[in-house]
Subunit: 108 residues, 2 copies
Amino acid sequence: MEPRLGEFEQLVMLALVRLGDDAYGVAVQREIAGRTGRSTGFATVYTTLARLEGKGLVASRLGDPTPERGGRRKKYFVLLAAGRRAVRESLRTLRTMTRGLDASWGAP
Amino acid sequence: MEPRLGEFEQLVMLALVRLGDDAYGVAVQREIAGRTGRSTGFATVYTTLARLEGKGLVASRLGDPTPERGGRRKKYFVLLAAGRRAVRESLRTLRTMTRGLDASWGAP
DNA sequence: TCTATATATTCGACTAAGTCGAATATATGG
DNA sequence: CCATATATTCGACTTAGTCGAATATATAGA
């Protein structure tokens, strides 16, 4: 059984899915903030990413320097198979709990 | 802004919505376990319910004894307005993060 | 070549949420 | 009144959420 994803972990995982090849810390924070309006500190995202990696749900690699005016190298993240399963499982659980609810609930 | 719901808090809140007038601790546990296959101890549900009440998202009342062979009185829970908003907000957030994803993700 | 500055990640620390074994409470039937 | 079914509470610990401040590292230009 895959480990369960916490509430924010789910959002981070979904951001990784959406961002694909351009998924690194700052971009994840922007994706979540921009889309949902929920703006966390960057450190929150990095802490979560580190824990997800520790659980074997995602993997990271260091990117090359880019020629866009300075800055540290980016650390890119991708979902591993176990991570994909965990995301699907989370969504499935939510779906079974919201299925059939009155439309006013805006079931996802 | 409503308080954010944790992952399990969301499930408990949705169980309350589904159960309506018959929402008490044991029933909530059964609803979640039966529907999602996730079986937690009863204490997990009660702890969560107590915290949700502390945050003003749900309210409780003690039921009358029922004539079904013994047992302590049930404690019924209902969502308050703030609780309904919190649930909608959680679902909305999830929806914005899953919207448009490939169908294989089974977006909720 | 240094240094100001932009970009990005890590550290340390604390609060909130998830989890459950065991104890406790309270109805009812016999 | 007590054995038993049903239901909730206690105490304790682990995991997830959160962020201010520190640190690292590219590049452009003096």
